[in-house]
Symmetry: C2
Subunit: 884 residues, 2 copies
């Protein structure tokens, strides 16, 4: 038997969305459950694909199936397409399997021509309606199918109006529309070299073909690329008997959601226009009325409509987005689909529906897109505000902030302490600028990537940051920056959106994050289900506190470099780096020790009873020294003034900076290599950690320190450093007269660590994947460098679908992780394994971590709720049986 | 039954070397085949291990076995240890399974005491001999066992000599020795607080224990670390009846090789001393005679000795290193072992022995250490010359060179063209310096690693280079460099050894490389056996020629960056880089095209009929621009002079340099990323390659170009670039009216490429492992940075046994390679796979490549013979069955 390419609405159902498209499947479903749906049929997505396979030609087989379906429709409606007496009119609409709203084309009133328009006028007794309908059809068809620009049609109407001194379309009568129609037909002839087709079947086929073609128009292609929709699905075409909302004051049309898609409130939400067709609502020529006013206008229809809404929600078990038309007091349903909603609404609708008994907790969890809820967790720009970005950089740390532009960190600190809201604007930041960042609402830099100093520090502090905003040109001397023609001076107010990378002039309205009751409810359900524990990356007691509030079950990464960078410590740290001998270095370190010990006491106290993974010093030492280039310039200037002590000092520092400078610092003297070459640094840190732990333990505070060695690539590195940690621990415990249980583990962040994880596991109590570095080395991409030019090019050209620094690369990095888990557990079946790279808070990456059997993910405090939710979703879609 | 810890020489054989040590096993073997070996026994290596297991104590069981063996020996010799009438004397010598010459201790004449010395005097009728022997024993025992410094004994002899006005030991008589002995005994008492032991059994046990202890003395530990000998083997102890070479003029002692260990000539080689004990030969107090003179001195003994040599060579089927003693005209063999030899000798001995029918070709191949033959392939310092290095850098490009110091590349070129031999000395080199390198004999830099510009260029040209020689401080202004107190001025002569990294003052004698007839013979045999093909890395026709001479079967890596760097091309290349638009870039590229086309024609012509892999441009573009720091200084100087066109230009260049500068250039915009972002560069290169190929094909030259895309990490990169190459190829073939067969493949040099090799293989005709980059990313080591501080520390502290940049890391990098081979061949069973990193010429790495089934290795031309030999050895030890 030949393949079935055309389905009557009565033949389909909601499950057939791949074949019939979303719209067609739902029209069929509504027909099936007895809702008032104008009759019609759907030409399948397979017909669309066939059209392209045949070289953009509708095959004979499909043609004949279309005409047969048309014939049935005519029979059922008791009207014929193009009938000069009482013509059947149809709409032709696209409908893909995955909704692409507004991306493809629609034609209404098809079937009218110079003859049938007269029959319509006669039959309805409304000549103006008939000719208005006809001109609307010609206009849509002329534009969509015959590709005559929209404005040219509008010009013709304008001329007629001018002639009649009319302001509104409603002032035009049937004769005027006839004049417009003649103008339209002439226009089409001139623009396309052919006449507007009078044969209704020709009209139909041309319209169907136009819908098929719209699958590959530019808009649709871009939409699919952005939304990651495959290109090979095709669109279905729905042909449906017209009903008219513009048949007078007992007619109308509208769109509505069964709940508020912005807040999730359980109230019908939408708008309608009396005496209008659907496109009038969209076009915004007249202001539509709130759907609730329909109660006054047509109480019975309203009641019927509310009943339909309830029925549809119960039937689909989800909030619906509905289109309807009222023709002479009778309600018709034209479309239903799951409604798009904000994160806030998604959460509320899901929780409410559980309470209403409509869905299960598990379904509720799956209804909230984990990636979307991040918007609920930061101050953000009021979604109702209209904003105009003047520049765009990298979205380096989420959230939005407004404040006065300040270029100098000292000034930022002074103003900030006075309660001023400021945005610190720098070409890039260094450890010297930390106090300025602390005082600022947000940070904007013209250079640097997502892991630049500014970005990392801002994320750590939960402050918004836009980095690498290359279109702004900063002039420190003039204390201003330029972007295009715009000059922004010190003290001017700007707003930045660290979630999008956008920079705006002036104060933009912001709203606070809301962790609503419903959100907490969803998270509580998620916590019952998920297998992955969720920890936070936090470096300070206040971060730790924030992490706890968001539900973190420990700290998975406490970076210690910030403990070296604080303004008051940097001179001592530099003294330590400049030291020529081990003794000098130890002397400087002994000054840092009590400071760090206090830091750890604060964090351990905040996290009482929960594990805290402390990573020993990781970054290259030169990060704590001044910038080489600036030093050279300073030295040249000092040289010009003759010999001086300052010159000598600067030259000495430059020598050290040069000695420490590296071709590829990411792959140089950092991580455990520092600990091996300068053992006294790690010894000091371990001493600070464990002394802090002992002090608290004496006070009865339960402390669970996990000491983490970074950048291990060979088991011997960990073996030696583990011995050293154990030695220091023994010393501390003896001095303190108390023992504290602690773990020693390692970051797994180099390919070689994954490949030899079985050997490394012999010396590790735990593994924690550092997927930022692991991604860099696996791809051979320096994140700082690749995010500027390479990755944007790669994503635009579909070489990669996502930045691997945002979404974990499963094929490469993921495969290494899987190997590491298997090899590690082959030696120690109970090895504790987690992840603390930025991927730990990204839903797809969390899912992967769940699938390969990790014990925990760790992410920035603000992303903890996302991870909790994503972990539960992962368990629901890929159940794991362990008892983690 | 109790374990046997002690073996009479009659009980062992050569196969028991692990248990009896090399010396003991060979003494047993010689005993077995009837050679005159003084009787004795061996205490096994297991006894040594047991000694350490028991906490440095000889167990009762072992003690009793020793005494039992001693009793047997006494019975056989008819003498008793310590017998006051006719005492048995023994030697006690260490002997590990793997020879550690001179690393452990020996004691002779054990068994003498105040009583037995009299018996010895009486029995031999030689009082002087007896007391001389006694004092020798006390001296050795006191030094080795009781740890009294050697010099203190010498002082006592000196005093006695002074008193007697004697110059030589031989002038002392029995009475003098008695005085010396009293002095010795007093010395020992004073130094150790105990008496020299008179009980011979106590002497024996103390000596055995001292030998056991010597296994873990500092010298031995260092030797084992350097020579990669495990620490847990232990040493055996040989106790052997003494024979005396110092019993008069019919006695003597000597050492000899059965062939010349330096040249391999078939002639007995060595030296002897009449009336002396072994230590006298070693101590060098008297000048020994050439072994051939023994023919005159004692013709019969000589004949017997030559017979023994021949017998031992036939028996062991290898050149032997022999120790012997003549006691009263009777020859005794004290040791035999395979003789250490130079690479040259190894080759000659192996080939000669095949001719003599002693060994097979296969054995001959295995007899030549592949790593050692590199010394035969470059000009090198005469091994007989004494040289005194003043500084040591990295051995960046092998071979030695002498010449006048020149700091300026232009001056180097001028002098070089005048036929002067010069060494170019720079802090580091840039593409601007190439003409200077070309003109120089060798290059010395104070900065930069093994892959610095100087190193790579020098290796490519086969010129010696010492890089990163940080102890020299160059002063360009004064045209001199300092190292410690030494100042070297322009024009002074220095020598550099690029194989060791050493720098010497003055002219050091050099010798030319010799590819002897025998070496070619070995290589020819190797070629018959090996499965791996051997190609060369060569960038120019002259390199290609050299590669062919060394037996390369194609070019595995032709880097094209040097085609951009040549002095006359750099301005055009810079123009290309500075281009703001694609059109400007294409214009510049069109000027480079004909030059590169000519380069390729030269190489293809040289390699007629053999495959040539051409890698498209790989390094980051900023490598072709001037150094940023120098530019800043220039600009500041120009600024001081006021505005100028030059200033503007420099500022423009600085802008571009900055725009292109990267945090981690190794992981930035390079390799195929360049080809994707600037497609016109690769298009030009492919055009140049294939036009060259077509031109030669028209002349009937067979050309096999293989176009290689570097740094692929994702299959989409290769898919897109493959399409582009194919498109250009079609264009060229159409223009030229001829088609040439060519391949398209990729470097596999990123972990992700290995992990997804099955996907990548879909678009690749061949893989070639770039193990330099793969090692960098797998370890997270930047070679330039790691080789300075990190790797030396790691190797010294046994974290790594070798630099992974020299010896392929099998556990990490190797595992990735293995995965890539398996995944690649799972998709394309016949996928051509090779390696072109520097590991391709290192024997252990070649072996690994053989084991995982590669088709070819490619290395620098000079290492081709090493790779040929190593590949054959790999096949002999790990046979592969394919028909490659």
């Amino acid at each position: 038997m030949a393949k079935k390419y055309v389905y009557n609405f009565r033949e389909g159902n909601a499950q057939m969305r791949k074949l019939l498209g979303g719209k067609g499947a739902n029209l069929a479903e509504m027909t099936k459950i007895g809702l008032p749906v104008p009759m019609g049929f759907t030409i399948t997505t397979e017909a669309c694909l066939n059209y392209y396979e045949e070289g953009e030609k509708i095959s004979e087989d499909i043609l004949s199936q279309i005409f047969q379906a048309l014939e049935e429709l005519e029979k059922e409606m008791g009207k014929k397409l193009g009938d000069p007496k009482d013509p059947l009119l149809v709409s032709v609409r696209s409908g893909a399997a995955i909704s692409m709203p507004g991306m493809m084309d629609t034609i209404l009133n098809l079937g009218l021509n110079d003859e049938s328009v007269k029959g319509l006028a006669e039959k309805t007794g409304n000549e103006r309606f008939a000719y208005d309908s006809y001109r609307r059809f010609i206009q849509m068809f002329g534009n969509v199918v015959m590709e005559v620009p929209h404005e040219k049609f509008e010009e013709i109407i304008s001329e007629v109006k001018k002639k009649k001194n009319a302001t509104y379309d409603t002032e035009l009568d049937a004769e005027d529309w006839k004049e417009v129609i003649e103008g339209y037909k002439k226009l089409i002839r001139e623009e396309t070299g052919r006449d507007f087709p009078q044969d209704p079947k020709e009209q139909l086929l041309m319209a169907v073909e136009a819908v098929f073609k719209s699958w590959n128009n530019q808009r649709a292609k871009v939409y699919r690329r952005i939304n990651k929709i495959p290109d090979d699905l095709g669109t279905a075409v729905n042909v449906q008997a017209m009903v008219f909302g513009n048949k007078g004051n007992d007619s109308g049309t509208g769109v509505a959601f069964t709940r508020n898609p912005s807040t999730g409130e359980k109230e019908v939400y939408g708008e309608f226009l009396m005496n209008a067709q659907g496109e009038d609502v969209v076009a915004g020529i007249r202001t539509p009325q709130d759907i609730k006013q329909l109660k006054e206008v047509m109480p019975e229809v309203y009641e019927q409509f509310i009943n339909v809404c309830n029925l549809l929600e119960k039937h689909y078990r989800d909030m619906q987005d509905i289109e309807f038309t009222i023709e002479n007091g009778k309600l018709y349903m034209l479309q239903t689909r799951s409604g798009k909603r904000t994160a806030q609404a998604a959460v509320k609708v899901a929780v409410d529906m559980v309470k209403e008994g409509l869905i299960t907790k598990e379904e509720a969890i799956l209804r909230v897109p984990a990636g979307q809820v991040e918007t609920l967790l930061h101050r953000r720009i009021d979604p109702n505000a209209k904003v105009q970005p003047i520049a765009k950089g990298l979205p380096a740390s989420p959230g939005a902030a407004c404040g006065r532009v300040v270029f100098d960190p000292d000034e930022a600190e002074a103003l900030g302490n006075n309660g001023e809201k400021i945005i610190l604007v720098r070409t890039e930041t260094t450890p010297d600028d930390i106090h300025g960042i602390v005082a600022a609402q947000g940070v904007l830099t013209s250079r640097g990537g997502m892991t630049s100093h500014a970005a990392v520090v801002a994320r750590g502090m939960g402050k918004p940051c836009v980095s690498g905003c290359e279109s702004i040109r900063i002039d420190y001397e003039k204390q201003e920056f330029k972007v295009g023609q715009i000059t922004v001076k010190k003290g001017d107010i700007i707003s930045i959106d660290g979630s999008t990378g956008e920079v705006m002039l002036g104060q933009v309205p912001l709203i606070d994050p809301e962790l609503s009751e419903e959100f907490n409810q969803i998270l509580a359900w998620a916590d019952e289900i998920r297998k992955l524990k969720v920890r936070a990356n936090a470096d300070t007691p206040s971060d730790a506190q924030k992490a706890l509030e968001f539900g973190a079950e420990g700290i998975g990464l406490c970076r210690t470099e910030h403990m070296f960078m604080a303004q008051d410590r940097l001179p001592v740290v530099q003294q330590m780096i400049m030291a020529e001998t081990k003794e000098e270095r130890e002397e400087a370190l002994s000054k840092i020790l009590p400071m760090q010990q206090k830091d750890f006491e604060g964090i351990f106290q905040a996290m009482e009873g929960l594990p805290v993974t402390v990573r020993l010093l990781d970054p290259p030492l030169h990060e704590f020294l001044p910038n080489e280039e600036e030093l050279i310039v300073e030295i040249m200037e000092l040289k010009a003034k003759g010999p001086s002590k300052e010159l000598e000092e600067k030259q000495e520092i430059l020598k050290k900076v040069r000695a420490l400078s590296e071709m590829n610092p990411m792959l140089g003297l950092r991580g455990c290599r520092l600990g091996l070459l300068y053992p006294e640094i790690y010894t000091m840190q371990v001493r600070a950690i464990l002394t802090a732990a002992c002090n608290l333990a004496k006070k009865g505070v339960k402390v669970l320190p996990e000491i983490e060695i970074p950048l291990v690539g060979h088991e011997a590195e960990l073996r030696i450093l583990r011995e050293a940690v154990e030695k220091t621990a023994e010393d501390v415990f003896e001095e303190e007269g108390i023992k504290v249980h602690y773990l020693i583990g390692t970051m797994i962040e180099l390919p070689r660590a994954c490949l030899t994880a079985d050997k490394i596991a012999n010396y590790a109590d735990f593994f924690s994947f550092g997927t930022n570095d692991l991604t860099q080395t696996t791809f051979g991409f320096s994140r700082d460098d690749a995010e500027g030019k390479i990755l944007p090019h790669y994503i635009e050209n579909k070489i990669l679908s996502d930045s691997p620094f945002i979404v974990l690369d499963r094929d490469g990095v993921g495969l290494l992780m899987k190997m590491a888990v298997e090899k590690g557990r082959s030696v120690k079946p109970d090895l504790l394994i987690g992840i603390c790279g930025e991927h730990g808070g990204e839903p797809s990456s969390v899912e992967f971590c769940h699938m390969i059997g990790l014990d925990f993910v760790s992410c920035s405090p603000f992303r903890v709720p996302i991870a909790r939710l994503a972990a539960a979703q992962a368990q629901l879609t890929n159940p794991r049986e362990d008892n983690n």
